[in-house]
Structures are given as structure tokens and as C-alpha cells.
């Protein structure tokens, strides 16, 4: 258990600023995910918690104590790396046992704990092998086991699943989730994968360019993005974002681009004007075989199994995607013209600077 706090954290490397003015509190027992594109500062932040990087300015506190000056080994943390980082010349057993030896725990007890932990992550048959003989998934499980033995109050995970294939990723993701539920310790998890963030997090912190763009529960982030960046980042397939401008028509505001025109829902203030980007998620667009707010021609039909994706042009640079439940390839064909409806409460508008209106 550990309550972590960042106060005005800043990290510079020469003239590059990796982290700017970071202020954040992580609650005891929380599963916090730092997510963002490469170079956004999330890994740097994690490594500052660990003690492998020192902040240029600012303080890191754990349970109210400033820990800037503490060595990593004295911070009572555990860490799992992207590359599993197992000791290649030691057996799996020795790898896991390592932390216990550092704590000077007697041999008998060590044996018991190692066996326990190996059971917990299902790697008992591997104990006598060496890392070179293990698969990617097995290695990461061992990495988890190795870090569990010291019973740290905080777990740091640096993109631990990035090097695995999709299926393994899902399996181990569930493993991590289970572990957190069981241990109830603070987890700080870094990833660039929005799906991982959405499924694992109690709270998500979206970082971009060294700053926090937005933080909140997965629900918040998904349904209430505060910026173009966050809206675009989360969701698979991503939110449809069309560029255009506001025009006035019959005393009502409408969104217009070179192909379509949509009335702007009333809950937007009268002040919206100029160049804007309209956003709506693929699952929120309603298809009407006749009528509808706008008409468009289906470009491509993609059957995904559980759902079907319909691609439209909609006057945007990126394909405009609509998701329909079920395998409906018979009902929709490329070249077909259909009506699209944008429910009022699901429409987003972003100004030129990416802010939500």
C-alpha cells in the first residue's frame, strides 16, 4: 500500500523537457495507468518513481515522505520491465529467489515463498529452466513472480505486454488484473495501448508532450474527452473526426464541409464559430435506410465477425467508420447510398487548437 504524490515534477535532459510541471496523486491500492504516445513522458515519470531518473525540479512523495534522495532499493517498490529483464545466466528459481536473498530471508523460508509465488502465476514446471529456454509469455510471468516475492507496497509496470502477441497480451493482461484484485496494492502501469489502459485502469492519466492531457476513470476518458487528442487516442476503431466549419443558416448553426452539412445540437453555446472538427464515435452513428440527417455512399464493407464496419468518405481525409452489430454484409453493399443520423448527445466539437467546445 502506498500513496504517491508528485509535486511540480519536471525532468529535463539538456535542452529537451521530457516532463513538465507534473502534479499528480495516486491513491493507495489504485491501479493507475499512464498512457500516451511514444515520447510523452510516461516512462520517464515511472522511472522517476523507481529512482532511476532524478527529477530536475520537484518532489516525489510516498506516504507523505519525500523519496527523491532514496535509492531504488530502499523505496519498497517492485518493477516489471518491457523486456522482462530476467537474469539470463540464472535459473528461473534463482531469478525468483533473488529478492528474498537480498532481504536475508533464510533458505527454508525462501523455498516456500518461491514455490507459492510460482503457483500464483502458474510457472511451477519452469523453475529449473533458464530464461533463454522460455517463451515470451512465460518470461513475463516469471518477471511478475520475481517482483512479487519482496511484497512491495507499489508495483511499477513499464509496458510489460508490448513485446507479446495479441492473444498472449490478453491472457497476461487478465493475469495482471487478477493480481491487482488479489493484492490490492498500488499499481502504476505504463502503456501506449489504449485498450490495455481502458481494461485495466481504475484511473487513467493521459500524457502528451510531457504534460497531463486529461485524467479520469476509463468511462470519463472515453465518453468525455476534453481534447481532440484524447478523443482520437481512445476507442477502437477511433472516433470519426471530420474537419469543417460553422455556418449560420436560418438562425441556426450548422457544421459544413465539402460533402455534408449537419445541424449543430442545441446544447452547444451560440458562440461556436469558425473552423471546427466534428467528432462522433463509430458505434454511435445510426444508419437509416431512408431519411436521416445526411446521405452518403458506402465505400467499403468490412465484416469483423461480431460486428460489421461500414466505411464512408464523408468529405474527410480519414475514412468515416460506422459499426453495426451483427454480420450484415447482405444488407449493405459498397456503392449503396444510406442515411446517417448523429444523435445530439454523442456529437463532439473541437476547435482549431484541439479543445473541446
Amino acid at each position: 500500500m502506498a500513496h504517491i504524490e508528485f509535486k511540480n515534477l519536471r525532468k529535463e535532459y539538456g535542452s529537451t523537457v521530457a516532463v513538465k510541471e507534473l502534479n499528480l496523486e495516486i491513491d493507495d491500492g489504485e491501479f493507475l495507468v499512464l498512457v500516451g504516445p511514444s515520447g510523452c513522458g510516461k516512462t520517464t515519470t515511472l522511472r522517476m518513481i523507481a529512482g532511476f531518473e532524478d527529477p530536475t525540479i520537484g518532489e516525489i512523495l510516498m506516504d507523505g515522505r519525500v523519496i527523491n534522495e532514496l535509492e531504488p532499493r530502499d523505496r519498497n517498490i517492485g518493477m516489471v520491465f518491457q523486456s522482462h529483464a530476467l537474469f539470463p545466466h540464472k535459473t528461473i528459481y534463482d531469478n525468483i529467489e533473488f529478492g528474498l536473498r537480498m532481504k536475508k530471508i533464510p533458505a527454508e523460508e525462501r523455498r516456500i515463498i518461491v514455490k507459492e509465488v510460482a503457483e500464483m502465476v502458474h510457472i511451477t514446471p519452469l523453475l529449473n529452466k533458464r530464461p533463454g529456454q522460455l517463451s515470451g509469455g512465460e518470461s513475463q510471468r516469471v518477471a511478475l513472480a520475481r517482483t512479487l516475492v519482496t511484497k512491495p507496497s507499489t508495483f511499477l509496470l513499464d509496458e510489460p505486454l508490448s513485446s507479446l502477441d495479441a492473444k498472449l497480451r490478453r491472457e497476461l493482461r487478465a493475469e495482471v488484473d487478477r493480481l491487482h484484485t488479489r493484492l490490492r496494492t498500488t499499481f502504476v502501469y505504463v502503456t501506449h495501448d489504449q485498450e490495455e489502459a481502458m481494461t485495466l485502469a481504475d484511473r487513467i492519466v493521459v500524457m502528451n508532450n510531457g504534460e497531463i492531457e486529461q485524467q479520469g476513470t476509463p468511462m470519463d476518458i472515453y465518453s468525455n474527452p476534453k481534447s481532440y487528442f484524447v478523443a482520437d487516442f481512445f476507442g477502437s476503431p477511433s472516433m470519426n473526426l471530420i474537419n469543417g466549419e460553422i455556418v449560420e443558416e436560418n438562425n441556426k448553426l450548422a457544421f459544413k464541409n465539402n460533402q455534408l452539412k449537419v445541424q449543430i445540437p442545441d446544447h452547444f453555446s451560440d458562440k461556436v464559430s469558425g473552423k471546427v472538427t466534428l467528432g462522433i464515435r463509430p458505434e454511435h452513428v445510426k444508419i437509416k435506410s431512408d431519411g436521416g440527417e445526411i446521405q452518403d455512399v458506402i465505400d467499403l464493407v468490412e465484416p469483423m465477425g461480431k460486428d460489421t464496419l461500414l466505411y464512408f468518405k464523408a468529405g474527410a481525409e480519414r475514412p468515416f467508420i460506422v459499426i453495426i452489430e451483427g454480420l450484415v454484409t447482405n444488407d449493405f453493399k459498397s456503392g449503396q447510398s444510406v442515411g446517417l443520423d448523429f444523435p445530439d448527445d454523442k456529437v463532439f466539437l473541437f476547435n482549431e487548437h484541439g479543445q473541446r467546445l
Binding site: 523507481a50 535509492e71 531504488p72 517492485g78 539470463p88 545466466h89 517482483t147
Partner: protein, 317 residues
Amino acid sequence: MGSNNLAGTSVNSTREMTRARAIKRFKWITISPIVVIFLVVLMPALILQLYFSFFGWTVYLGSWLDAEFVGFEIFEEVLTDERLGWAVIRSLYFSFGSTVGCFLVGFGLALLMYRPFKGNAFYYIMFIIPMLTVPIVVAYTGEMLLYQNGPINGILSSLLGHDIKVSWLADADIALTTVMIMEIWNWTPFSFIIMIAGLASLPKEPQEAAQILGAGKFRVFFEIQLPLLRPVILLALILRFLEAMAEYPKIWSLFQGGPGSVTETIPVLIYLTTWNYFEISKGAAQSYVVMILMILIVLGAIWVLRREKTNLDQMYK
């Protein structure tokens, strides 16, 4: 013909055969010139050497073919010669000493320098210069420094307040050690470069993982870094040791084996026997004995290095 496929076996076989043939052709084309040169240049010399070991010959005899067959007489003489035994001991002392010295200094420097820091490049450049200095130049520079009236004695005198004139080059007790120190100066960069490369290539994350798990800096070094560095360390030691056994320019140009015979290492002895005393056959026999000794050492070295390589291959798959 090697194909394990059941389907289309005949097509695969032909292609594989052509491929195998092409590779063989390639092998012959690239290796033959080298083998030819070897056979023309070195092989005869080796055979000649053997010949002289069994057929006593000195320069005074005229043609080689006049030499008499003497069986193992010369070998016996050589193997019971105390002088050869001493030469071997001196060579071993010199080689071990300079290898260990080079390694300790080189490794130490590498440990201090493998992580980036300010001024890194400057120090690195300066530190590799000694290896680029021609050994004979090192010899003469050494002489100029260590000569009785030279700066080393000068500095010592200034420090200690009265004239010190250590006879670095002419004192029988320290001569061999003096040249050993020169060798260390000359070749430390070799170990240095290899060890820095080795240290830098170690993955950082297992070390960080060890730190998180509670290991202090020393433990990380001894348990996590050093074991993985073993192949590189052995490489640095073995290569340097073997080259040190053959060292000639420094010892010869500065000492000619003296004072007395305290710096008479194996190369010096063979040189003296062959070119000063003109005892060609004896020199030949000595050379063969030394060659066999070195081959044994080399075989041992190969065995060690190959085992390390196999180990590495397994670890990193």
C-alpha cells in the same frame, strides 16, 4: 540429398544440390589463393625447420644438404638446456604480469567510463593512443624516460628531495619488470576497448531489476554483470597473453636480453641462438619446442573461448 519434404522432393533436391555445389565452389574460390600462398610461403619454412631439427647444421657447413642426420640429439640438448627453461619462465612471468596489469587497469578504466559523462570522448581518445604507438617507439620513449638522467628519475628526485638515479634499464633485478610495465602502458587500451564494449553491451534492465529487488551496487556488479562479462574477460586475457609471449621489439632493442640474461625471453633466446651464435639447428629445435608449447596453450584457449561462445548462444537464443 537432404530434403525432408515429401512433396515435390525431386525439384527441391535438384535446387539444393545446385546450391550445395555453388557453396562448395565459392568455398574453393575464396580459400584456394590463401592456401596456395600458405603452401608456397610458410609450409616449406615449417618443413625446413623440422629438417634442421633432425639434421645438424650450422652456417659453416655450406649447403643445407650437407647436414648430418643426428636423430633426437638436438632435441635432447635443447630440452635439457636450462637456458630454454629459464627463457620460458621469463616469458611466462612477463606475459602473465603484463596481461594481468593490462586487464586490471583496462577494466578499471572501462568501469569508470562505460556510462556517458562529461569529457568522456576526450579521455577515451587519449586512452587508446598508447595502443596506436608503434612498440619500437614505446621502447625508445621508455628508454628516454627511464635512462639514468631521465625525467622519471628527475621527478622522483624532485619529490624526494635528493638525487635518485634508479637504474631502471641496467639493474638486473628490475629490468624485466621495467619492460613489463612498458608493455602494460602500451597495451592497456586493448583490454580497455574490449571491456568497454562488453560493459556497454550488457542489457541495462536486469541490473535495474536487481537494484529494485534490493541489490546494492557491488552485488549487482559481482552477481549480474561479471558473470555475463566472463567471455569478454577471457577473450581480453587470452589474446593479450598470447601476443605478449611473442613480444620482441621492446626487449631486444632496449636490453638485447641483458643485463646478463635477465630479460632473455623465448623470442630473444631463439634470436640469439639463430642469429648471434648461428646455431641454426639448435634454434630450429628450440623453435619447434616452443611452437608445440604454444599450440598446446592455444588449443586450451580455443576450448575455453568456444565453450563461452556456446554458453552465450544458449543464453540469448
